[in-house]
Amino acid sequence: MLRKGLLLQAFFKKELILFRRYLHNSVGSMITLYVIFLLLVGGFQGVRALVGVGADTLEGLVVGYVLWIFMLSTYQDVWYTVRTEAQEGTLEQLYMSAHGFGWVMGAKVVAGFFTNLIMVAVLLAAALLTTGVSVNLDFWSLLPLVIGTLLGSAGIGFAVGGITLVLKRIDSYTQMVQFLLIALVGAPAGRIIWMRLLPCSYGSALINRVMVGGQNLSQIGFGHVAAMILIGVGHLLAGYGIYKFCEHRAMIQGTLGHY
């Protein structure tokens, strides 16, 4: 387990080094996301003035946007890593790790979670200040819900990463996943029960109950939380299963490290 800790530490260090070394790029990405948010809010307020929807929906927009960014970053931490490492020639080195590639990607996702958390926290603060709305930031209630939600986007990342290993150069299709993630964030899983089985949707609904509805974990009910995490684990395993299947195909075709 100590060796796994060292692996995690190495990925943390790498993330931190690259974040600091290319700080202007990191800050630029955050400014871009913030500008997109401003455009969304501008558009939303225009629509609200026309149809007269309530102020709580703006809170939903803030929460939904920030959650979408978190999910998108997690998805990209998996898919984009596979693609970039293959493109840059380092994927094969990671495959020869003493830990196994699954652990390597796990360490990458966990390290990415913390750097994404910083980015999302800054974005959320900026969004709340800009819109003037307030949301319930109950950290200990949100932590398991966010983790459970992100398991689904990591699962999607593995599935898309696996398909990339076999088919290569499918960027135009993989970009569509970001729109799929918007749909999953917005799916009314609170009202329509079968939608809870979709990746990330159940978690998104529960996060809204905490942040917008002001509830905590005990008010939501541990049964809901456990079910949501189980579904998230299921999506992660399914995505990883697809990845392993594709990896096997790539190893037969001899295209594992190609891009």
């Binding site: 060292l6 530490q9 840059e88 390597v104």
Partner: protein, 319 residues
């Protein structure tokens, strides 16, 4: 150290097309502390074989044992003793420094970088990278990047190091430095190194044994010394002032052992393989027939490039 048994790889064909056999039933062993050259023309199956040894390509049939561990059954355990440089200078992170690359990949290989300070310092020094330790890899020369990639492979302390074209694209100086380093690593650390290369200087200078593959099959498997001996042919290079007459050219080309290497009105160079002693006299006789002034007669040294080409042209011997 490595045992390969009846290894075969057929890449699946596209819809309706037959598969491509890249490796055809090859078997060989590699001893501990051996520097083995794995040679062959493009498309011979070298890289496929090396990638199968790294567990990155799945063989169609056959078995690979590394340190007695079946690679196909226990991939991670078997690979604990293997490191590789497969994509040359692309096997490192270009946005990390030399030291950061060594530390990161040590952790990926299950080692504690904090306890490897001395080793990291040692490899930076060995590869002449100490002054560049804090320079991002993208800012290093290609030769330095290549050396860093090899250092990254060595930091894992694996017993087997696989290098695919380690001197590709390097200038003479960098190529020389790398082959000296490889010899040093094998001699001082007892590592087993398998390298694929098109650079026959590397083979002749550094390798103890070579396996030559062609069309997926092993066509030669012997020590460099034995192969040079086996294909020992004295080659003489005769330089003549001026050109040749049509009759001289026709007479020389009728001899299988003769190649007219260059011909101009000023000078003509002819190489003669001395497979029987009379051939040189016959060539000189042809040249004297028209009083062509012989400027020099030099003996060419037999080199591994010529041996390699002869083996590929059909002078193969049992693997």
């Amino acid at each position: 150290m490595i045992q390969v048994e009846a290894l075969e790889k057929v890449y699946p064909g596209r819809k309706g097309q037959a598969g491509v056999k890249a490796v055809d039933n090859i078997s060989f062993g590699v001893h501990e502390g051996e520097l083995l050259g794995f040679l062959g023309p493009n498309g011979a199956g070298k890289t496929t074989t090396v990638k199968m040894l790294c567990g990155l390509i799945r063989p169609s049939s056959g078995r690979i044992f590394i340190n007695g561990i079946d690679l196909l059954q226990r991939r991670i355990s078997a690979l604990a003793d293997v490191s590789a440089v497969l994509e040359g200078n692309r096997n490192i992170y270009w946005r990390l420094t030399a030291q950061e690359n060594l530390e990161f990949f040590a952790a990926v290989r299950g080692l504690n970088p904090a306890r490897l300070r001395n080793e990291i310092g040692y490899y930076l020094k060995l590869f002449n990278l100490t002054e560049k330790r804090d320079v991002e890899a993208r800012k290093l020369s290609r030769g330095m990047q290549q050396k860093l990639a090899i250092a990254v492979a060595l930091i894992s302390q694996s017993k087997v190091v696989l290098l695919d074209e380690p001197t590709l694209g390097l200038d003479v100086q960098a190529s020389y430095e790398i082959r000296q380093l490889l010899k040093q690593i094998v001699k001082e650390q007892g590592r087993t190194v398998i390298l694929t290369t098109h650079d026959m200087n590397v083979v002749q200078d550094a390798c103890q044994r070579v396996i030559i593959v062609n069309e997926g099959r092993i066509v030669a498997n012997d020590s460099v010394h034995n192969l040079l001996d086996l294909f020992k042919v004295k080659v003489y290079r005769i330089t003549v002032q001026g050109g040749l007459t049509a009759e001289q050219r026709q007479a020389l080309l009728a001899m299988e052992e003769v190649i007219i290497e260059e011909e101009s009105p000023i000078q003509t160079a002819i190489s003669v393989r001395l497979e029987e002693s009379q051939i040189l006299y016959r060539v000189i006789g042809v040249l004297e027939s028209n009083h062509s002034p012989i400027e020099s007669i030099d003996q060419d040294q037999n080199n591994f490039e010529r041996v390699f080409l002869q083996i590929l042209e059909g002078g193969s011997q049992g693997a």
